[in-house]
């Protein structure tokens, strides 16, 4: 009887000391609060960058050693865009092949014109372009280049796929077309 009574009283007195757990929880909370950095709203433009191809004259016969091209692809499937820059690193002239598309800063109007031109060219199933090669002035700043890259990656191939194959080459100084 007395034994049973003692047992009852013992189970009723069990008390969890929450203070220690609270201390630890606050330490963990402090750690996470101090190490917390909100992630920047950063995104990516994903693309396949094969090695560049040699730019050939359209009047010449294609170089058989380059045809088919493996990773590099062939020049006849490549649309060449040339971007020159001024001394401040802003875009100066943008050309598709030898045809000027915009002069001066790359504003919305210039980018819209470029986009419309590309849409026309890639929408034509008879023109076999599947990649773009950007020949860029070495002085051009990255944010100016990205405006053009952004327009290029939005283009759709006749198959419906988004264009992802873009390559870059540097225009040697004084060699702008």
């Amino acid at each position: 009887m007395s034994r049973r009574h003692r047992k009852k009283r013992g189970s009723g007195n069990v008390e969890l000391n929450l203070a220690a757990m609270l201390d630890m929880a606050f330490q963990m909370l402090a750690f996470f609060v101090f190490t917390f950095k909100p992630a920047p709203t950063e995104g990516q433009l994903t693309m396949n960058l094969p090695p560049p191809v040699a730019i050939t004259n359209v009047d010449q016969k294609p170089d058989p050693s380059n045809a088919g091209g493996g990773n590099g692809g062939s020049d006849e499937n490549t649309l060449h865009i040339f971007i020159t820059a001024n001394d401040r690193g802003d875009a100066d002239v943008v050309k598709i092949g030898l045809r000027p598309i915009s002069k001066g800063m790359l504003n919305k109007v210039a980018l819209r014109t470029l986009s419309d031109e590309l849409k026309t060219m890639f929408g034509d199933a008879l023109i076999p372009f599947d990649r773009i090669q950007l020949a860029v002035d070495p002085r051009l700043r990255y944010d100016e280049l990205m405006k053009v890259v952004d327009v290029c990656t939005k283009q759709k191939l006749p198959s419906g796929q988004l264009l992802q194959r873009i390559s870059f080459v540097e225009i040697p100084e004084g060699a702008a077309p």
């Binding site: 929450l18 203070a19 757990m21 609270l22 929880a25 606050f26 963990m28 909370l29 996470f32 609060v33 190490t35 917390f36 950095k37 909100p38 992630a39 920047p40 709203t41 950063e42 995104g43 990516q44 433009l45 994903t46 693309m47 396949n48 960058l49 094969p50 090695p51 990773n71 820059a85 690193g89 860029v136 002035d137 070495p138 002085r139 051009l140 700043r141 990255y142 944010d143 280049l145 990205m146 405006k147 890259v149 952004d150 990656t153 939005k154 870059f168 080459v169 540097e170």
Partner: protein, 151 residues
């Protein structure tokens, strides 16, 4: 005397506070991103509305390259020269691929994307050097980073 016995009897109920603290801990654990440590947050990225978060489900971690406006790659708090850094990282990835028993052969494309975080003032010549070096060692998939909106 009776007053002192009263004060001894005061017992704060800590359970709701503990509940709340654990909820806060859970929140911070879920939103904390330790991978952000690999990013150099001092870089000013270009702003492009069409940039989307990278969806990568491969086994190998993408190679993150932070290219600052001085033309150096910033990694682990130090500036590195472009070519040696990329070549070292590529060697490491190739070793990892061989150790994992994949059928990777020397000269194959590396099945690892490169995330290129370049400052918006970086000149194309520097950027092109990075891309060329990456291509030479076998990288083909690139993601160019940009902010979704100006901050």
């Amino acid at each position: 005397m009776s007053g002192s016995s009263n004060s001894e009897g005061v017992d704060t109920n800590l359970t709701p506070m503990l509940d709340l603290v654990f909820q806060l801990i859970t929140f911070f654990m879920l939103v904390t991103n330790f991978k952000g440590a690999a990013m150099d947050l001092s870089l000013k990225l270009p702003v492009l509305g069409s940039a989307r978060p990278l969806e990568w489900s491969g086994k190998n971690e993408p190679l993150m390259i932070n290219l600052n406006s001085t033309g150096k790659i910033r990694s682990e708090g130090r500036d590195h020269e472009i070519d040696p850094f990329i070549q070292r990282e590529a060697r490491f990835v190739k070793l990892q691929l061989r150790a994992a028993g994949t059928d990777y052969k020397e000269g194959d494309d590396l099945p690892v994307p490169v995330i290129l975080r370049a400052d918006k003032d970086v000149k194309f010549a520097t950027l092109n050097q990075v891309i060329r070096t990456c291509q030479e060692v076998g990288y083909r998939q690139f993601s160019l980073s940009a902010m979704n909106r100006a901050e």
